[in-house]
């Protein structure tokens, strides 16, 4: 790995200043970024750790729902979100393995927007609001394709606000070697309708399955999906699963998530 200067500010304002430098890159838990840097796929000249910023830590109920600090590790979300949003706690508790969950954070996950990461599906299905050091971004506007988000240079996620659905569940089909989702589906039922977000399957990253949302908004049961099918065009195809296999998984897992949500 190439060397870099390391900074660890303790406030959002100081982090924003440090990230204004040329070649600066935000570091959260590092569970993706550090392996990426080892492969020299990322070569920042300044690394700005966000893990020392207290105002970006923790889980609490507030305006608009559950506020999760961007630097909150998965293990903490798994524990502290349970009473408020069990499906989100379940998702956080199933990411990677225990040691990864001690370090990895929600902000890091959604800033990276890996097409097989778990968190983007929860953020999109919940219609969450992504709060940055500059503005608030609706989930529907935030995810913009493979490893691409609405974040601009020098902008970083500070928290995510999750509206709490009436019912929700996340079902993940594990890719056992990487522990990422081969495909994962998050279903959230609100008074205003159902939202379905799929990760691990789409070539452009996380996406909403609109047909299923319509069907489930009319009838929230797995059988409501029986007449639907998912087009394999646009699905990821690799040695772990073909596009057709993933398209089928989307439907199967959506049904399982609906059943699990009860």
């Amino acid at each position: 790995m190439h060397n870099f200067d390391f900074a660890k500010p303790s406030t959002i304002a100081d982090a924003a200043k440090a990230l204004a430098a040329d070649g600066a890159q935000a570091l959260s838990g590092g569970q993706t970024l550090i392996p990426t840097m080892k492969q020299r796929l990322a070569q920042p000249t300044v690394l700005v750790s966000l893990t020392g910023i207290k105002e970006m830590q923790g889980v609490c109920m507030g305006d608009g729902g559950l506020h999760v600090g961007a630097a909150t590790p998965h293990a903490v979300v798994a524990k502290e979100a349970r009473a408020h949003y069990p499906a989100l706690a379940d998702l956080a508790g199933g990411i990677g393995d225990p040691a990864v969950r001690s370090r990895g954070t929600i902000g890091g996950s959604i800033a990276n927007n890996d097409p097989a990461a778990c968190y983007p599906s929860a953020v999109l299905a919940s219609g969450a609001t992504v709060v940055t050091n500059k503005r608030k971004i609706a989930a529907d506007d935030y995810f913009q394709g493979l490893f691409t988000t609405a974040l601009e240079d020098g902008e970083f996620v500070t928290s995510v606000i999750f509206p709490i659905p009436q019912k929700a569940a996340y079902v993940k089909f594990n890719q056992p070697a990487s522990r990422f989702a081969l495909t994962g589906v998050f279903v959230a039922k609100f008074a205003s309708g159902v939202r379905v977000a799929v990760t691990g399957a789409g070539n452009d990253g996380v996406f909403r399955w609109a047909e299923a949302e319509r069907a489930l908004s009319a009838d929230f049961s797995a059988s409501a999906l029986s007449g639907l099918s998912v087009d394999p065009a646009g699905m990821i195809s690799d040695l772990h699963g073909s596009a057709a296999y993933r398209a089928n998984l989307v439907k199967v897992l959506t049904g399982r998530a609906v059943t699990a949500a009860g």
């Binding site: 390391f6 660890k8 550090i34 080892k38 225990p98 990864v100």
Partner: protein, 161 residues
């Protein structure tokens, strides 16, 4: 180079590190604590697991500078003060929870983190918790048995396969 200080196995330590110095390198090369093993260096195998402020982490995927000031515990800090093996280490020996032993430091550290959080885990919980620790020798059965035994549970009924 910057100076970092932390507590490792109860002792205050410090050393000069680069930004890119991993916690695993700081422990092994900086402090000579070579009990922490680096198996894959890609955060897959878990041989390098240590505790940072009581939580298990893969020390090959944490920068030393990012955990300055933390309380770190490695396999060298697991034995009892008189030098005898801790309950978990003794259980690994008694139940043949290792063959080559390369993964054992990480296995012991992850198991200790599990038992601190969940003192009487079920077999399924042990297997799930050790998901991020890879052993290529044992087939895991005796590792699971050792962790169950270390938690004070009867393992005589646990299958050998």
């Amino acid at each position: 180079m910057t100076k970092v200080s932390m507590t490792v196995n109860g002792k205050a330590v410090s050393g000069e590190v680069e930004g890119r110095t991993l916690l695993s390198s700081f422990l092994r090369e900086g402090l000579g604590l070579t009990g922490t093993h680096v198996g894959c260096d890609t955060s897959q195998c878990g041989a390098c697991v240590v505790h940072v402020d009581g939580k298990p982490v893969k020390s090959c995927t944490v920068f030393a500078a990012d955990v300055a000031g933390a309380n770190v515990k490695t396999i060298e800090g697991m034995a009892n003060p008189d030098g005898s093996l801790s309950v978990i280490q003794q259980a690994f020996q008694d139940h043949h929870g290792l063959q080559c032993g390369f993964c054992t430091p990480g296995m012991v550290m992850s198991s200790a983190a599990l038992l601190a959080e969940n003192p009487k885990p079920t077999e399924a919980e042990v297997r799930h918790y050790l998901d991020g620790n890879i052993c290529r020798c044992t087939g895991y059965h005796n590792i699971v048995k050792a962790v169950m035994a270390a938690s004070g549970q009867d393992v005589s009924a646990l299958a050998a396969e």
